[in-house]
Symmetry: C2
Subunit: 184 residues, 2 copies
């Protein structure tokens, strides 16, 4: 009988990440993930449509976060500053789940199909930032430029953070990358 399992989604994600690290993404089955988490496959499929979803579930709050970052930016912020405020929220979200996010990055980086999906997801986030900028009255071209440039800076900072060993936060990497980008 299925029953409510506290934190089942988090437990399944943690179990999956351990297994992905140990055996690789392709070498891990849903049955193994459920077993490691002490749950059933049926519980797994109540939380995730498939194995890949462990890595990509919950994208909606990311968009909400980005838009909140845009809304909170000062009225006199430049378009790029607004984009930086949005992507800072995203960096904080990754930092909050530091080990999960770093393992997730390594797993995705080793698998071209997952990289495709990640790239697509990030492209949608850039679209969302562009929408937010337009709503602030930024014209189409500048909104698109600031969101795309902001995403380029974010991706560079995120990759460095995910593979770093100095303990600095994702936001610290992002701040540094934006400063470097402005000095380019």
């Amino acid at each position: 009988m299925a029953r409510w399992e506290p934190n089942a989604q988090t437990r399944l994600q943690q179990a999956a990440m351990e297994l992905f690290r140990e055996r690789g993404f392709d070498g891990t089955s849903v049955a193994e993930i459920a077993e490691r988490a002490g749950l059933t496959e049926r519980t797994f499929f109540r939380h995730f449509a498939d194995k890949r979803e462990v890595l990509f579930v919950g994208g909606d709050w990311v968009t909400t976060d980005l838009r909140a970052g845009i809304a909170d930016a000062p009225a006199d912020a430049t378009p790029l500053e607004v984009a930086e405020a949005a992507f800072s929220r995203l960096a904080d979200a990754f930092e909050e789940r530091r080990e999960f996010s770093r393992t997730r990055h390594a797993v995705i980086d080793a698998n071209p199909e997952l990289m495709e999906r990640e790239r697509r997801k990030l492209a949608l986030l850039a679209d969302s930032v562009a929408d937010g900028l337009r709503e602030r009255g930024v014209d189409e071209t500048r909104a698109r430029l600031a969101s795309e440039v902001g995403m380029a800076v974010f991706r560079t900072a995120y990759t460095r953070w995910a593979t770093s060993s100095d303990g600095r936060t994702a936001r610290a990497y992002l701040r540094e990358a934006f400063a470097q980008a402005k000095a380019l």
Copy 2:
């Protein structure tokens, strides 16, 4: 009997573009492309592995072009100026085949699978620019930032150019976008 056909590849590409415009990418067959070009299917497959290749063939010279742009940039150019020099070559290459490139953009933009492939191709071009910057002695982070930011600016300019009706060149759009990016 197969015989050598002058400009067969170009004729096939032009015929394909006409048909893609008229019937859409999915609504066009290889047989129809060959017929419109006055050539055989066999000739088509000597030039392209499949229908998608009509849009993506010849990526190698693009990398060569980008690297030439990097090599020709002045020794004291900033990393972003070097990236701009590289992407200017790419803009020129699109401009040289203006109508082909603009139709190509419209066809790809209407088809998610083709967009995926285009995104992947552009990501590889950004990697190539980053390599070129590193060879000029730019450190890893700045090389990555300049190439990704440069690509973001290029994509914005390229999209605007491909959908524009004012007759301005791709390079003019690119120059304007880099100027706007610096002012963001």
